[in-house]
């Protein structure tokens, strides 16, 4: 009986069957559901870590202590975890260790589309690339064997279409692995210079052994067919190329891509007339194949930007152009993502927008939408935690420029725990002078409502001590700390005025739950039950459209009547529009 699974579900199943005992991750699209699914298996201790570096370190600890362990993160998360990663290659592992890197070609939900196979090579660890859900499960089991056989961490590089596409999977049973008894081994696990110097040649020797394995493993398989064209490919690009060429080309399908099986590639190349390398994003395999003196064609024809699909490959390699229906552009209006009706971020950004001579450094989360129409407040968004540290550096230079411009740094609760805390330490320690706003919506919002250290619950729903942001920032030495309800525009404005006038680092904490969040008992106690919706008293509306300027998707402007209207099915009664209306034309239902 086969099961229809996403790649992420199959990875979790593979971890279960491989006898994994510990898993840690920070949520990030497209990787998030991996830990949500390992958490369904009581045999695997599954935890959200505050960031990816912490997750990988916790997983390394679990491995050294003798258990099989799994870390999962999106591609940019591996940058955060790069510090331990670069040395794990030296130390190796005890229990098998797999790091999932979920790359996002096409930037569906990411700030860049980096190709992390390059990081696997840089870190000198093994890299495997599944191309569908069945391989996600099978490769996980293989990865743990490889990890323990070669004493090496294994990066399993997935991409959005592997993570989030569903296909049929034959599942198996869990094989319990005995924990490996812990033995103190300082020469292996203390990467001090004296040990590191000795470990580096060991790493190089492992790479030689792994290349031999790469040439022999069935993870790298040849599918012979017509030999006029030979295709070397990996990951989901294999599925795309197979779709286009079918039996009209021979395939060298690589599942184990670092180190590459260069002997196998050379042998394959010698038997085909033309060799194509079909890979998504970077010419990772192609450059190495060319450096080995093997003729091939790759990025000359196939784009290294964006996501591939069968159509792009057919066009690039075969010159096939499909007829397309035309889309009359006058029949189309954009549909950008927006902050939800009732989103607590809206009130804050609306009030912030009124402040002049400010630079707003933003961060990663739903509140990135504070940069979009009609709020248009945010100036920068780069990476997790950058709002506060970039803001500090910017303020230093703005002070030098002497025009009185102030920086407001805006970050979410989960992002603050991820890496905003160290940035805030930078501001306090160096006697900075920025306004730091922590938008605490009581959950990790954008990735789909994962608990975090501030929410008071764990991944498995266990009630734990909530780490209070207010206490954290006061402990760091911030003296002006203002807690405010972001839906109360006057209160937000006063808080901003006080913080902007203050000399020294300040923190404003806006505390209100994400409108999509299922309220916990503590939330209901603190924030109350659902509120009555708002409506527009038609005869009092003057059509000034200030309510529309909040960008609330529940408010519709009727151009013929020149009146605003609130959709009662979309409104949640946040009352931001009610406070914005200069004519008091918006009322609460029941009033």
């Amino acid at each position: 009986m086969k099961t229809f699974m996403t790649g992420n579900e199959a990875v979790a199943r593979g971890a279960f069957e491989a006898g994994v005992v510990y898993a840690s991750a920070y949520p990030g699209t497209p990787s998030t559901e991996i830990l949500e699914n390992t958490a369904q298996y009581p045999e695997i201790i599954s935890e959200w870590a505050p960031n990816e570096k912490v997750a990988l370190e916790a997983v390394l600890g679990a491995s050294i202590a003798g258990g099989r362990a799994l870390a999962a993160m999106k591609h940019v998360g591996v940058n955060v975890a790069a510090d331990p990663l670069m040395t794990i290659s030296y130390t190796g592992v005890t229990g098998g260790l797999v790091l999932i890197s979920a790359d996002d070609p096409g930037c569906h939900s990411s700030q860049n589309e980096q190709d992390n196979r390059i990081l696997a090579k840089f870190a000198k660890i093994a890299c495997i690339e599944p191309s569908d859900s069945q391989e996600c499960l099978d490769y996980m089991k293989a990865a743990y064997e490889i990890s323990e056989q070669f004493d090496v961490a294994v990066m399993m590089r997935m991409t959005t279409r592997v993570c989030h596409s569903k296909s049929l999977v034959e599942v198996g049973e869990r094989v319990e692995k005995d924990l490996i008894p812990y033995v103190k081994r300082p020469e292996k696990y203390i990467a001090a210079p004296a040990h590191a110097k000795k470990l580096h040649p060991v790493v190089e020797a492992k790479l030689v052994e792994m290349e031999k394995f790469s040439n022999e493993t069935p993870l790298n398989r040849i599918e012979w067919a017509d030999k006029k064209v030979g295709i070397v490919t990996s990951g989901v690009a294999y599925q795309y190329a197979k779709e286009v060429f079918g039996e009209n080309a021979s395939f060298l399908k690589l599942g184990f891509t670092n180190p590459l099986p260069m002997d196998k590639i050379r042998d394959f190349a010698s038997q085909v007339e033309t060799l194509y390398v079909v890979e998504e994003l970077e010419p990772f395999m192609e450059e190495q194949i060319k450096a080995a003196g093997i003729n091939c064609v790759g990025k000359e024809l196939i784009p290294n930007v964006g996501e591939l699909n069968p159509d792009i490959i057919a066009k690039s390699l075969l010159g096939e152009v499909r007829p397309l229906l035309d889309i009359p552009q006058d029949k189309l209006v954009g549909r950008p993502p927006t902050l939800c009706a009732g989103c607590p971020h809206r009130g804050f950004f609306y009030a912030l927008k009124k402040k002049k001579n400010v630079m707003v450094t933003g961060d990663i989360g739903c509140y990135t939408l504070g940069a979009s129409e009609p709020l248009n407040t945010t100036d920068t968004v780069i990476d997790m935690g950058a709002s506060i540290s970039m803001g500090h550096g910017a303020q230093r230079v703005l002070d030098k420029a002497g025009k009185g411009m102030k920086v407001v740094s805006v970050i979410g609760d989960s992002t603050f725990f991820h890496s905003g805390i160290t940035s805030l330490i930078d501001v306090v320690y160096n006697r900075g002078n920025t306004v730091n706003v922590i938008l605490d919506n009581r959950i990790t919002g954008m990735t789909g409502h994962q608990e975090n250290p501030g929410s008071g619950y764990t991944l498995t729903g266990q009630k734990v001590k909530e780490i209070e942001i207010d206490k954290v920032v006061r402990a760091l030495g911030v003296e002006l700390v203002i807690n405010v309800n972001p839906l109360d525009l006057d209160a937000v404005t006063k808080a901003l005025d006080a913080a902007l006038a203050y000399e020294g680092p300040s923190v404003i904490i806006t505390r209100w739950p994400c409108v999509l969040k299922k309220f916990s008992p503590e939330d209901i106690k603190e924030f109350g039950e659902k509120k009555p919706v708002c409506y527009v008293v038609e005869e009092e509306c003057r059509g000034c459209r200030l309510c529309n300027k909040t960008g609330c998707p529940a408010i519709v402007f009727d151009k013929t009547k020149k009146k605003s209207y609130i959709d009662p099915n979309a409104c949640v009664g946040c009352e931001v529009c009610l406070q914005v209306c200069p004519f008091k034309a918006i009322k609460k239902a029941g009033e």
């Binding site: 699909n309 057919a314 549909r335 950008p336 739903c366 998707p553």
Partner: protein, 193 residues
């Protein structure tokens, strides 16, 4: 069965296109097809344009299609059908819900919802327009709109012979089985022949 069929679902976050895709995929799997389904998560869900793809046949490789390849586009919202029209095989069919959801620029009054979208689609491809929301409301539960659309697409693809009753029974809570079966049939009745 050798030929691979491609169905593209389009709509707006929150309209239930993922559930609809799952129902379709489950019926196809039960019937012995190889099936792949692809969805996009993350920021797009915040009121943005959303698509899923279902591909089926004897052996399916790619989980996604490129432009010009969909045999059927089923759109839960009128303008979204237009947005994804270039993913259609020009010989394919469109099932479109006659239902407008205004996007942010329209709500704010900085753009207008385009007129004549449905006619423009009809001019370009074989099209079935249905009022799935009204049909679902008449049946007594507006939330079954997505299942009405699934019914229409099943008929449009000639898949009405598969065992959809089992899929519905496996997918929805017992108290909603009857209404969803009615919705599915009402959707099928929208396609003649």
């Amino acid at each position: 069965m050798a030929e691979i069929k491609n169905i593209l679902f389009a709509g707006v976050g929150g309209q239930g296109i993922i559930l609809a895709s799952k129902i379709l995929a489950a019926g196809l799997i039960n019937a012995g097809y190889d099936v792949k389904m692809s969805e996009v998560h993350g920021m797009a869900q915040r009121g943005g344009s959303v698509t899923t793809q279902v591909r089926y046949g004897e052996k399916v490789y790619s989980p996604i299609i490129g432009k010009g390849q969909a045999d059927l586009l089923v759109s839960f919202e009128s303008m979204e059908a237009m947005r994804w029209l270039d993913y259609m095989n020009p010989k394919g069919k469109v099932v479109v819900n006659d239902h407008e959801l205004w996007s942010a620029p329209i709500l704010m009054g900085s753009a207008e919802y385009p007129e004549g979208i449905l006619d423009a689609i009809r001019e370009r491809a074989e099209t079935v327009v249905i009022k799935a929301g009204e049909i679902a409301a008449e049946l007594g539960n507006p939330r079954t709109m997505n299942v009405v659309l699934v019914g229409t697409l099943i008929k449009a693809m000639g898949l009405e012979g598969l065992d959809w009753e089992t899929v519905i029974r496996d997918t929805v809570k017992p108290q909603f089985v009857e209404i969803n079966l009615k919705a599915l049939k009402a959707g099928m009745d929208q396609v003649k022949g």
